[in-house]
């Protein structure tokens, strides 16, 4: 293994910058003009998203077809095809971007490759049908800068995602990668670096928002023969995938940050705890680890500085609770993944009883850039107590599903309406669920709150890892609370009484309510139970598990009451509360509904109005979908 010096690093950076020059320049450039070989463009690059989402839509085949087509046209030397990480606009994936004119193609199919090459790359004409259509103006937009989705975003943690080839370390180096590490090992003391992280105001992005610099300082204070840096990549919130995208799109930033953390806390061992369901992220990390070792950024005597640090990957089986740091540590030790009481905190007694610092992926991704750009720069973004940016995964009834990164303090309205493009199908916004299954549902009245750790908690939800699920008028809030509780009941480790039995009983009460069997005293019991669980559960999962119930009860109490008193579900989601009826005036007696009813609940003579027997009806909705005359309605 060659040992790289700082001078070598500078040389690599220079060499690699050429690779990225085109991309970085074009990023700054906004032109309606498209480039093409026939228009005299010397060199082009085609970026294709290689994230899990786009890969599922055959983006790998797009890359293959693009390469084959370039080969066929004999221009492969003039055009690079680069697989990048996630662009974030997953709603419109797979994404293909043409450099240097910065054309942003959406929902590309493998069969589009040939057209992109012959029309755009060669002839310099944009393939209009693949361009993004602005939902408001119905105009084609060819450049991401002009899209509302990207307009308000500030990409710090995602700075390299969708820009660099994650499997090429030199592209990372070109983007100032490993510069912070190299500078640190020669010119800085651990205390200085911790001071910088503290000054930046960076807080844990895994949910609780503990100040990262302070965490490192605590861990540094404990002396032992071994210490560990753990990257918590056990992303478990349903719908959240920012950590996966960072690992897939910019794995080296995590490795560099872990080495920096190791230097600061006095550790030589790093561990990445990642769920085995993330095979692509695992692969990219493995490739990155090999490259980093080969270049001397990991291993013994990093860059000749005398500092040793290496990283191992550990696999989790995907239990939600293993995202809790003590449970995560137990899982890594080969024990049952369940939390233990803190203190002792991992900083004192963590992995194998040794001082351990656990940071989430997104937190770590911020670290190198804080050191290269300076803590002041980072602290200038965000709110008073929450600095920097936060990545959110937009999902649910929203037009632009995807991964976004915004400065702390951005309002929910900006995120949902400006970036997210508003609620799908023009429906009315009802609520947004933030913070994953243990977060809460926020309503219209919360839309203008500048979001940060404190404001979300104050509003009865939490930051969590950044899941954001939008709900519209068709969503029943009781059913939503039940859905999240089902998740929690399934994911509870079972250790403490309130979470193990309490959540189960809450779920039973909610089920009763959605089946129309609820009583008013059940609502009281539900609330009492939720409060006791919040007050007494052992770990963060249990303490926050009643949040969906409490927040929906606080914000949508009338819906609960309706279910109980009127046996009515206004969103028509709770099946047991629905009544299907046939309007005798509209019914022609064709009998198709009766024929297709799986429960044989519909009776009537031919050409005479039919009736539904409510006792037999299983509320499947089959009759309604079959009726040609719109005679069947649901109440």
């Amino acid at each position: 293994m060659k040992t790289l010096t700082v001078d070598d690093l500078a040389a690599i950076k220079k060499r690699a910058e050429k690779l990225l020059e085109l991309r970085e320049k074009s990023n700054a450039l906004v032109s309606e003009e498209s480039c093409g070989i026939e228009k005299g463009t010397g060199h082009l690059q085609i970026l294709c998203c290689g994230g899990t989402g786009c890969k599922a839509s055959e983006s790998a085949l797009i890359v293959k077809n693009l390469k084959a087509s370039l080969e066929q046209h004999g221009i492969s030397d003039k055009v690079d095809v680069i697989t990048t990480g996630c662009f974030g606009f997953c709603e419109k994936g797979p994404i293909v971007k043409i450099i240097p004119d910065n054309t942003f193609y959406t929902q590309v199919k493998p069969s589009d490759a040939e057209e992109i090459v012959s029309e755009h790359i060669i002839a310099g004409r944009k393939v209009e049908r693949l361009l993004y259509v602005d939902p408001e103006t119905q105009k084609h937009i060819s450049d991401s800068k002009h899209m509302n989705f990207y307009g308000k975003q500030v990409r710090v943690a995602l700075r390299n995602c969708g820009l660099i080839d994650p499997e090429n370390i030199e592209e990372y180096i070109a983007r100032d990668g490993y510069a912070a590490l190299a500078d640190m090992v020669f010119h800085k003391t651990p205390e200085e670096v911790i001071g910088m992280i503290k000054a930046s105001g960076l807080r844990g992005r895994g949910g609780a928002g503990f100040p990262t610099g302070k965490k490192w300082e605590f861990c540094r204070a404990y002396q032992d023969d071994a210490k560990y840096v753990v990257c918590n990549a056990d992303e478990g919130d349903p719908g959240a995938f920012m950590d996966r995208s960072i690992m897939e799109g910019d794995p080296h930033s995590i490795l560099e940050a872990m080495a920096i953390c190791g230097f600061c806390i006095g550790s030589n061992n790093g561990l990445i705890y990642i769920r085995a369901e993330y095979p692509l992220a695992v692969h990219r990390l493995q490739v990155a680890l090999e490259q980093a070792r080969e270049y001397g950024f990991l291993g013994k005597d990093i860059l000749g500085s005398g500092f040793d640090f290496d990283i191992e990957i550990r696999y989790g089986a995907g239990a939600f609770v293993c995202g809790e740091e003590t449970a995560l540590i137990h899982s890594m030790e080969g024990k049952r993944g369940e939390p233990t009481l803190k203190p002792p905190f991992p900083a004192e007694s963590g992995y194998l009883g040794k001082p351990t610092n656990v940071n989430n992926v997104e937190t770590l991704a911020n670290v190198p850039v804080i050191l290269t750009k300076g803590p002041e720069w980072f602290a200038s973004i965000g709110t008073e107590k929450s600095k920097g940016t936060k990545v959110f995964a937009l999902a649910g009834k929203i037009n632009n599903v995807g991964l976004i990164e915004v400065p702390m303090g951005t309002t929910l309205r900006e995120i949902i309406y400006d970036i997210g493009g508003g609620v799908k199908n023009g429906k009315k916004f009802k609520a947004v669920q933030t913070g994953g299954p243990s977060g809460g549902c926020l309503t219209e009245k919360h839309l203008d709150i500048p979001i940060d750790y404190e404001s979300l908690t104050a509003a009865g939800s939490m930051m969590g890892s950044g899941g954001m699920i939008v709900m519209d008028e068709d969503d029943c809030m009781v059913a939503i609370a039940k859905f999240y509780l089902e998740f929690i009941v399934g994911e509870s480790c079972g250790k403490c009484t309130p979470c193990r039995i309490g959540n189960k009983r809450m779920l039973e009460i909610l089920t009763k309510i959605t089946e129309g069997k609820g009583e008013m005293k059940d609502l009281e019991m539900l609330k009492n139970l939720a409060e006791v669980i919040k007050d007494t559960a052992l770990c963060g999962l249990g303490q926050t598990s009643p949040n969906p119930v409490l927040s929906t009860m606080n914000n949508f109490y009338e819906e609960y009451e309706e279910h109980v008193k009127k046996h009515k579900c206004r969103a028509k989601k709770c099946k047991a509360l629905l009544t299907y009826t046939i309007n005798p005036e509209k019914c022609r007696g064709c009998g198709i509904c009766a024929k297709d009813c799986p429960a044989s609940a519909i009776m009537g003579d031919v050409r005479k109005p039919h009736v539904i027997n409510p006792y037999l009806c299983i509320r499947c909705g089959m009759c309604m979908s079959r009726c040609h005359f719109g005679a069947i309605s649901v109440l």
Partner: protein, 567 residues
């Protein structure tokens, strides 16, 4: 911790999962039941008193409305996932959950009617598992993993479906469980109890065609009184013999007699190996290890099959008694073997398994028919309307009722070794002991060692109790780093006084200490305190066995071990 601080000023915060047998390694503090929650000023949520450290100027409320309401709700939740069959539960009256519910004044079950978690039931030779009653305190798991290092029990599955069971929810009988019964000793509810043989015993006692004889173990007499409201450590030897007689046992003997016999055989084996060793024999296996504890035997057969030549081949006192009763005594009395029922009363649950061991059968028949625990005996005495406290003292029957002080101390950690030392010293030197008490081997420390001067020969001995401590010793032996001549092992904390069949100590170490003290007191009060001076033992060798390690002794009083590791 807040819990201890509060207790020290007379505030008793309720607990359920918590257990701390102070001074031993028996500890369970998962802070998981959440019943001990208290309000700490300035803290967002309630804090578990068992696991929250006290800080200067901390303001703690242990009985605010918030706390009381939370505690009540939690207890109601536990009840909602617990079978509602207290009246017929074997743990009724001893159940910590029952006591707690009474204390918290819970008179309604608002959450009842919910789903019950489905868990397994199992009846092994020693232990009955009814996991529906498990409240997930994890005490058994802590004991099995951390104290005994057997690891037969652990949490399986997640959330509401969690159960405590062997890996993959296998049956205990298919694991390396040693049947030590410590899980039963700490279980707060009726989830883990002993395999109950009381009905079987009642049947036999009432059967005129059977001659039923009893052999109570040493540790029973120091604990049985607790079941009748007596203070821990009250010796009830005389009442025990009377009670057994009143129950209808035809003969009431004493396992202590067999303990003396064990010393004769094991002592002879110690001397034999030592002599070989001193003569320069390099193949002799030292240290020799005691073999009276059946859970310990199971443990090394499972975990250390490569070292099974180290323990003594002497059978346990229970089995020696059975073998002699069904041969020497039965022949002498003219009782046919099939008519004779030998019942042992033991502080132990592993003894229930031991009686069934194939290696210990005589022509496929058991020497000891079954073993009942101290707790079961108490139950039968109560059922038979015997006013235990009012019973007069009586003696055990002859000839297998006579015992020495050496036999009595078999019931405590260090006792077997001390008994052996008394005999080995005198046989080896041919001189009378200057001081009978070997106080250097006594105590409750997990692993103790001493060097005994036997007229110039420094005999290095070691005592370990709990299997976790035994494992430490065995691992050193495996590494060849063990420098002892004799090692005593007992599986339970404190030895048999803390056995899995004893009255529940409910986490109070004072109970074990008092029992230990009682046994040493009984020893000190005995006229004869050395096994080889027991006149009935002397007669037995003269009339029947010949000498220790004779052919007949080997056949009746010794056994062999085999590799029983779970592959």
């Amino acid at each position: 911790m807040i819990l201890d601080a509060a207790a020290s000023i007379g505030i008793n915060i309720p607990t359920l999962c918590h257990m701390d047998l102070k001074g031993t390694c028996v500890k369970n503090r998962p802070a998981s039941c959440r019943l001990c929650v208290v309000e700490v000023q300035g803290r967002r949520n309630l804090a578990p008193a068992c696991a929250t450290k006290c800080m200067p100027d901390m303001v703690v409320r242990t009985n605010s409305m918030r706390v009381i309401k939370a505690r009540k709700t939690i207890a109601e939740l536990i009840l909602s996932d617990h079978p509602n069959d207290c009246l017929t539960c074997p743990k009724c009256g001893e159940c910590e959950l029952q006591a707690l519910v009474t204390r918290l004044n819970i008179t309604q079950m608002p959450f009842s009617g919910g789903e019950l978690s489905q868990r397994k039931k199992e009846l092994t030779p020693s232990i009955m598992r009814n996991m529906d009653k498990c409240i997930f305190c994890r005490r058994c798991e802590s004991v099995c993993n951390n104290v005994q290092t057997v690891g037969a029990l652990g949490a399986v599955r997640r959330g509401f479906n969690t159960t405590i069971a062997p890996t993959f929810d296998k049956m205990v009988k298919d694991t390396n469980c040693t049947y030590c019964g410590q899980c039963v000793a700490v279980c707060p509810t009726g989830a883990l109890t002993e395999h109950d043989d009381t009905d079987r015993l009642m049947d036999d006692l009432c059967n005129p065609d059977k001659i039923v004889i009893a052999q109570p173990a040493p540790a029973v007499r120091a604990a049985l009184g607790e079941e009748f409201g007596m203070a821990p450590g009250t010796l009830v030897t005389g009442k025990l013999a009377s009670a057994l007689r009143q129950l209808g046992f035809d003969y009431v003997f004493d396992t202590d007699f067999a303990a003396d016999l064990t010393i004769m055989e094991e002592g002879a084996e110690i001397l034999e190996r030592l002599k070989k060793f001193l003569a320069g024999d390099k193949t002799v296996k030292l240290p020799i290890m005691t073999s009276c504890c059946p859970a310990w035997v199971n443990f090394y057969e499972h975990e250390f099959p490569d070292l099974i030549e180290y323990p003594s081949s002497a059978r346990s006192p229970q089995q020696m008694f059975g073998a002699i009763a069904k041969s020497y005594w039965a022949e002498k009395m003219g009782i046919p073997r099939e008519k004779l029922v030998v019942v042992s009363i033991m502080p132990c649950l592993a003894k229930k398994y031991e009686v069934t061991r194939e290696e210990l059968k005589h022509e496929k028949l058991q020497d000891v028919d079954y073993s009942i625990s101290t707790r079961e005996l108490a139950r039968i005495i109560k059922r038979a309307n015997i006013g235990f406290a009012e019973l007069p003292d009586s003696d055990f029957d002859s000839p297998m009722g006579e015992s020495t002080g050496a036999g009595v101390i078999f019931g405590t950690t260090g006792g077997v070794l001390e008994a052996a030392l008394r005999t080995v010293y005198e046989v080896y030197t041919g001189e009378a002991l200057p001081k009978i008490d070997f106080t250097e081997v006594r105590g409750l420390e997990g692993i103790r060692e001493a060097t005994i001067d036997i007229k110039g020969f420094p005999l290095k001995v070691c005592i370990a109790h709990t299997l976790g401590n035994a494992r430490k010793v065995m691992e050193k032996l495996r590494e060849g780093k063990l420098d002892y001549h004799v090692v005593e092992v007992m599986a339970c904390p404190g030895g048999c006084i803390g056995g899995g069949g004893q009255p529940y100590h409910h986490g109070r170490i004072e109970v074990l200490q008092a029992r230990q003290k009682a046994l040493y007191a009984e020893d000190a009060s005995k006229p004869i305190r050395k096994s080889h001076e027991n006149p009935d033992i002397v007669a037995l060798y003269k009339e029947y066995l010949g000498a220790p390690l004779s052919e007949r002794s080997e056949e009746l009083l010794h056994t062999h071990y085999s590799d029983k590791s779970i592959k």
